[in-house]
């Protein structure tokens, strides 16, 4: 029987790998992939709590998180494609014409 803290630690490790990916990489597509990693970590936490608290609400919430993540990935990639068409670059530190 795997204790709850092991699942939560796996979720926390995945979440912080995603955070480091968002804050570290220059490519906008990889930043989106790290956001998907963070959403998966949240799903693991939700489902493991649902398992250990004998409640199915965790899995329902995780279904909605997956649905929202699908919509957000589509719109995010559309925005990235449009920015690439305009600026001809994908690196987030070169897209800086709105800086002061």
């Amino acid at each position: 029987m795997v204790p709850l803290s092991h699942y939560l630690m796996f979720g926390a490790v995945l979440f912080f790998i995603g955070v480091i990916g968002v804050l570290t990489r220059r490519n906008a597509v990889i930043i989106l992939m790290s956001i998907e990693l963070m959403l998966n970590a949240v799903n693991i936490t939700l489902i493991s709590f649902g398992h250990f608290l004998h409640n199915v609400t965790g899995q329902i919430f995780a279904i909605f998180v997956i649905a929202v993540a699908a919509g957000e990935a589509a719109v995010g990639l559309a925005i990235i494609i449009e920015v690439f068409r305009g600026r001809k670059t994908l690196y987030v530190d070169e897209i800086n014409i709105m800086r002061w």
Binding site: L4, R26, V29, S34, I60
Partner: protein, 173 residues
């Protein structure tokens, strides 16, 4: 036995997640992300959430990652290897993220040993696997969570319209 499978899938998932954020080639990152999603789906099976494992493989590894790969191939087609791939703030980011992770890890272990876990509902995993995971989710999703379900479908419609409008080239008359 269950602990063995958990450590196997958690280890492979963590290593491939680290590979996602450290590879230079964007396509390698996408493929390691697919491997991470499959390991997470295996963890869902360990948690007796079989419908979520199927949904994860179909939607995340099957649809979202194919979308990512198509987008990468559309916009990155001459240059899939990066020269300088880390931002200037990356040492600070790694240090601060590790500090916050240490705080969260301490919170997890301290809270779980101080307060014992009381079950909130009456659907224990044995009862759920007796009735069937899909039946239990269906009986709750369409009765108690009907309103969020309909809102999610409206949200997906809005995302679909938004993605099409954003990338449409308007023909000049």
């Amino acid at each position: 036995m269950e602990i063995l499978f958990f450590y196997l899938f958690a280890g492979i998932g963590t290593i491939s997640a680290i590979m996602v954020i450290t590879r230079r080639n964007v396509i390698h990152c996408a493929l390691f992300l697919v491997l991470t999603f499959l390991c997470v789906a295996a963890i869902y099976v360990l948690l007796k959430a079989e419908l979520l494992a199927g949904i994860q493989v179909l939607v995340y590894a099957g649809a979202i990652m194919v979308l990512f790969l198509f987008a990468i191939l559309l916009i990155n087609i001459e240059r899939t290897k990066e020269i300088r791939y880390r931002q200037g703030q990356s040492p600070w980011a790694i240090i601060l993220a590790t500090i916050v992770f240490a705080q969260i890890a301490y919170l997890i272990f301290k809270t779980l040993e101080d307060t014992p876990l009381r079950p909130l509902g009456e659907l224990s995993p044995d009862k759920v696997s007796q009735i069937g995971n899909t039946e239990v989710i269906g009986s709750v999703l369409y009765t108690k969570f009907l309103f969020p379900f309909e809102i999610a479908s409206v949200l997906l419609l809005a995302a679909m319209i938004g993605a099409i409008i954003l990338t449409k080239r308007f023909l000049k008359k």
